[in-house]
Point group: C2
Chain length 111, copies 2
DNA sequence: ACTATACATTGATGATCATCAATACGTTGC
DNA sequence: GCAACGTATTGATGATCATCAATGTATAGT
């Protein structure tokens, strides 16, 4: 089941801006939780640095040293978090990063 | 036991820069894991937005609605992660944010 | 010294999560 | 239709973690 289609609706404001209320803190925490895993970070960076800005899931399993279901699970989490998009082409699934989403999280740490 | 005095030694490079190796991904993930909690995010923003750039622990317990030990635990995690500094003055403990540390994490999400 | 206060630590518990084996689903080619 | 392949889902398990009550450790005031 999808974790949350719009975790951290966050449009503006940084942690150093104004004190976060409980709701905003929960959404932001959920967003960072997705980044708080080595496998997901590697997946994100592998897709981000892939040749045409996209990567096939078939090329991500072996280098990570995890089972196919585990990699698929992490990719789904990244998609659900809005950090990646998934596009099926035939038997393969291709992933691209969503820069705006990454920027949103980065801005949450702005001074 | 302190989690790690220098988690994410990270000096340079973003997730979109070059593919992360297992070690770097682990350090980065550990750093984000500290941010991946609502209470810690609220603590961070409360300290960041505090009047003189510092906040007394005594003023952080009630607004969070958590027990004193729980708040103390989260503050310790933030200090161990290098995101906050702690200074004891008499009976009180005063916290300040470490902007450089926050910037380090922000840069890890740079395009 | 004694008491009260502020904070940290310990120990225990329930919840969340990463992981894999097994299985299901959808697509391609024969 | 059938077999092979790439991917997603299910179910189970061990590990990690947030939380609190109880306790420990200082410091300040009387």
């Amino acid at each position: 089941m999808a974790i949350d289609v719009t975790p951290f609706a966050g449009c503006c404001g940084s942690v150093t801006d104004t004190a976060l209320d409980e709701g905003a803190a929960g959404e932001l925490a959920a967003a960072f939780k997705v980044l708080a895993d080595p496998v997901r970070l590697r997946l994100l960076s592998m897709v981000a640095t892939a040749p045409a800005g996209e990567a096939c899931a078939c090329d991500l399993v072996l280098p990570l040293g995890r089972s196919q279901p585990t990699v698929s699970h992490h990719l789904t989490m990244l998609v659900d978090a809005g950090l990646l998009t998934r596009e099926r082409r035939g038997k393969w699934a291709w992933y691209r990063v969503v820069p705006e989403r990454l920027a949103l999280l980065r801005d949450a740490l702005a001074p």
